[in-house]
Amino acid sequence: MTVGMRASDDAVRTAVDAAYRDAWGQVVATLIGLTGDWDLAEDCAQDAFAAALATWRRDGIPNNPGAWLTTTARNRATDRLRRDATGRAKLRQLAVFVREEPSIEEIPDERLRLIFTCCHPALPFEARVALTLRTLTGLSTGEIARAFLTAESAMAQRLVRAKRKISEAGIPYRVPPAELLPQRLAAVLAVLYLIFNEGYDEHDETRALAAEAIHLARVLTRLMPTEPEPRGLLALMLLNEARRATRTDDGVLVPLEHQDRAQWDRGLIDEGVAVLDDAISMRRGGPYQVQAAIAACHDTAADVGNTDWPQIARLYNELLRLAPSPVVELNRAVAVAMAESIPAGLALVDGLVESGRLEKYHLLYATRADLLRRDGRKDEARAAYEQALGLAPTEAERRYLTGRIGEL
């Protein structure tokens, strides 16, 4: 299994890091599938990665690091279960996995079962997010806590409670059957998108969360090759990520129209568009595909003036039909303002203000302010920018809005 040569410390460290990225979720998923014990699975995966550092230095880096790690973790689990009576009873039930050593290529990829179980709707939403990150990407509890601005002890508690509920409430470890799949898949996609957006915000400087979300979306598209929406989500993430570098300048938010498009990542845009085309060719639409199509309109336009606003307005209409929400209505209002006329867009925004549904949402007022400014209604624009400023959650947005007020 190994190439049988000692490997340098650097080479081993690089190989273990790469394996951690690619194989952590798979090792944990396989071990949960075999033992049904989430804590044991995580502990043994951790042990296997620690063992890899020492063993690979001595024996060389194996040809298939993921397989080596899975086998090692599985053996570790067997040893630990042998130590006590309940464990031995469990091992007898799991005779298959003690008796033989299946060739590692035969071990199926269990990550899909793991993703669906982590994102089960009977778990609190925050717990789904934390559990997905912990078990599938191997981010430590401390790293997850920092990413969500939560105390590590609280995050640890959240993970413990979630795992306990899975076992005590009988949440099945499986990919849901066809009749449950659309709803459950939507729940999985929502978790991945939240992780991405959390990472897209300013406080994730290391980009860890956005990178993990894209990685998980890629895994999901490989594991569900016939489902279009995971592809739609991956495309959406890639098309947003492509613009990330230009979203702020020196800590000030830069709106789409002023972003330096030459700096957008062409590679990500091309990949995003290709993934989206793939999804659309399956001819089953969905909200992530529509959102990705809107992002693609922006990403492939030379500038704001050359953006296909009528198409974007149509796509928002479609999105409203698939996934109605006041935020989507607000975005549609902008597209209508650009495609038809500012007053037409303003009328839609004013309708939203009157409905009171986005009362606390700073972008409602920022959008209204922006349209009023374009319409030459300076005093009203200033008042609306000030409303937005009072509600804006990030420093970058507050700086941007302050700048706007100054320009009026």
């Binding site: 009988g170 949440i171 099945p172 449950l180």
Partner: protein, 111 residues
């Protein structure tokens, strides 16, 4: 797995036992549960007007009228079921007529 389904609503509807027995949704639900072999026990509870709550504090027994918790929905019946896992319990709970206007709380038995 064994679960208790707590059948809840706000008691504004209060169908009689006869009405409930005649409800085609309720009949279909019972038939489905029996087909799954999952019905261990079931009972309807009298309304909260007949409820009494007991608490013991500092050795003193405190008795009050009404349900324990001041919530919008109250437990109106309990069903003990045995089924494969939470997903099956969710399917069973969703078939109960009260799920359409009240709600069903699924609680695993502590065994």
């Amino acid at each position: 797995m064994k679960y208790v389904l707590l059948i809840c609503d706000d008691e504004s509807k209060s169908p009689s036992n006869e009405e409930l027995d005649a409800d085609p949704v309720h009949q279909a639900w019972l038939a489905d549960l029996d087909r799954r072999g999952g019905r261990l026990y079931g009972a309807r509870l009298r309304p909260i007007a007949d409820a009494t709550s007991v608490r013991v504090r500092k050795g003193e027994t405190l008795v009050s009228d009404g349900p324990y918790a001041e919530t919008k929905d109250f437990v109106g019946g309990i069903v003990v079921i045995d089924c494969a896992d939470l997903d099956e319990a969710i399917v069973i709970a969703a078939g109960h007529p009260y799920a359409q206007w009240g709600g069903v709380e699924i609680r695993p038995l502590w065994e």
